[in-house]
């Protein structure tokens, strides 16, 4: 009986270990940026980084800082894509504005990641509407 218990534990251990050996990393810069516009759109440039020796698939998200809800009106020059190993990719973030100020949280994530940890890096971008 004890032997069976040990066997189950060992199986569980090996199965979990096999399912969890990928290495992932991601970076984003800048994490804070503020700007003003007198049009109805502000464009920021961000860089996403892959400091490791494997190609990285990324997905950009714009979310509300408080509620975590998607802000689908914010667009990217490349919402999904890949970055070569040791590479960087510059993207443009298009933030529409129809009020005095707008703050958006921009995040880079790994949609394909299946591990126990889902890393995410987010930056806060603030747009002020200049007097027209």
């Amino acid at each position: 009986m004890n032997k069976t218990k040990f066997g189950i534990k060992r199986f569980l251990f090996l199965a979990l270990f096999a399912a969890s050996t990928q290495i992932h990393a991601q970076g984003l810069t800048p994490l804070l940026k503020e700007g003003s516009t007198n049009s109805n759109m502000k464009i920021f440039t961000v860089a996403i980084m892959n400091p490791y020796n494997q190609r990285m698939t990324y997905e950009m998200l714009a979310i509300d800082k408080e509620t975590n809800e998607d802000q689908t009106d914010i667009k990217f020059s490349g919402r999904k894509g890949t970055i070569p190993r040791y590479g960087q990719k510059k993207l443009r973030v298009y933030i529409p504005i129809d009020q005095k100020d707008r703050e958006a949280r921009i995040c880079v994530t790994f949609p394909e990641m299946q591990g126990t940890i889902r890393p995410r890096v987010c930056g806060d971008f603030t747009v002020h509407l200049a007097d027209r």
């Binding site: 569980l12 399912a19 050996t21 990393a25 994490l31 400091p51 940890i117």
Partner: protein
Amino acid sequence: MRHSPQSRGARPPFDIKNISLGGLLALTLLSMQATNAVTVDWTGTVANSCVVTVGSNGVLGLSLDGKSLSSDQATGMPAMVTVASTTTNVVTFSQATLALRATGYLGTPAMFTKESSNKGHLRDWQPTSYQETIQSGDTVFNFHAKAQDENTFPMGIYRMSSEVTCAPPN
């Protein structure tokens, strides 16, 4: 003894006139360089950036009574997450979820996470998400997850998942 053509009174390898002229030219160039020296600068700005690396995902082990599945058990291992930041930022550890479960398991376990770091962060088991402030440099977190149930976890594959977010402080 063999002689080379030069040592036998033939034409010397360098003409003395050429040497004088060359020296004069070098001196002229040196004096020109001294009078036209310039300083070259490189400038750059290090922006606020953050890189999150999952060095290794965690491994879960089962407790002796079979009711706790945790990376803190003897057969488990914590996940290792490195956060490289250029300034003060905040790392949020979300509440763990059971992303994959054995087909025979229908329970709703209580989920917890805890962590410690090489920079002195230390957090015991937490049932909800929480935040740690990091300074510039590399912070290495050992991140644990646990699922606890009143009943035994049946045989099969389980995976707990948690989101680690680096973002600027509010």
